[in-house]
Symmetry: C2
């Protein structure tokens, strides 16, 4: 198995560390940042650890003091990049005072500002690209991000149905349908924006318009 992400801190408590934990964390972060740049530019297989090292301002050997292998570096980089925001939204979205529609809109606002508009977008793209080579990482991502995100979406949809705001349950059954356009936006931005730019914000707005009309309209 791939094992731990970072070699465990020194075992002895007797001697003060020559480098503080803070310095150690900062250097690890610099390495992970550099790794993201290089992996994004070249993909996993073509990324060279010499490049990661020089971009992080360390020698190649130093990488191995923080991470046991190239694969572990990749995994550490992804994990450190995706963990945060899902938890935040699990806290803020399920406010019972606002309508399901507003919850959905808040979720999309969050997607736009916290993922599509940031570095995380690239991490997700990189993860999608390499996922079949890292089944274990795909599993982590599915469990920690996808499944939780879909759970939030489903609970919003269920609440919308329960309070009569939505007249049908397609989104309860397939919450993927609600975020599908965000995925298209993510991939389009990375692959085709240069060739054929689209206005992502307007597209997502149009999607919400359609979705709301479909959910609230008369089921013919």
């Amino acid at each position: 198995m791939v094992g731990q992400i970072v070699s465990a801190g020194r075992g002895s408590k007797r001697k003060a560390p020559a480098r503080s934990e803070g310095e150690r964390q900062a250097k690890l972060q610099a390495i992970l940042d550099a790794a993201l740049d290089v992996f994004l530019e070249k993909g996993f297989a073509d990324a060279r650890l010499d490049d990661v090292a020089s971009r992080a301002g360390v020698a190649k050997g130093t990488l191995y003091l923080y991470v046991p292998s190239k694969q572990a570096l990749f995994e550490a980089m992804v994990r450190s990049g995706i963990g945060g925001p899902v938890g935040a939204i699990e806290q803020t979205i399920p406010d019972p005072h606002v309508s399901a529609e507003d919850q959905l809109r808040a979720l999309f606002h969050f997607l736009r500002t916290e993922i599509l508009g940031t570095r995380r977008r690239d991490i997700v793209r990189l993860l999608l690209m390499e996922a079949s080579r890292f089944p274990e990482l795909a599993e982590v991502y599915h469990r920690e991000v996808i499944a939780r995100g879909l759970r939030i979406l489903r609970s919003i949809a269920e609440r919308g149905v329960a309070r009569g705001e939505f007249r049908s349950d397609e989104i309860v059954r397939f919450p993927q349908l609600a975020i599908a356009p965000a995925l298209v936006a993510l991939l389009w931005t990375s692959l085709f924006q240069r060739l054929d730019p689209i206005d992502i914000e307007a597209m997502l707005e149009a999607h919400l318009t359609l979705l709301m009309r479909a959910l609230k309209g008369h089921p013919s």
Copy 2:
């Protein structure tokens, strides 16, 4: 630049070829099929040409009689795999006797049977994965497949609006919204179906239900 896909057929017309053109094509096809298997399994960078060769039943040197480089092999494989079906649908879909809804449903049926349910699904996935390493190929794919597909979709939507069948123009403006769930289906199948299976057909059916209700319903 990357240059031609396949080493140009023999230039000389003076000598009869020792292998007929048919044999040559068949062997090329065997090589491309083998290449698809191997590239799918390993990704571009980790695919070994020895594996492609042995799977195609030839020696490695033989590959270079058909293709000038690994990259050219990848490109040839992708191009030979994606060309066909778009043209077919451009012919059959725009029948003025059927409703825009039926045209859309026919398009989705086509997507399910001709792409999602076949080897082409994997080619598309592979292409998405490697696209940033092959900008030229991404451009070809955008021009030959994406742009044409979206054009068909847009023309269906325009016709729906023109004949009063659809009451709003979001799909005219962003035809990507209509096929977004198909992309999710494609990626989900490849990455997560094993962990968390979903019924793709039912999901796409639910999408069409929602989409039709949104397009036909009262714009509140």
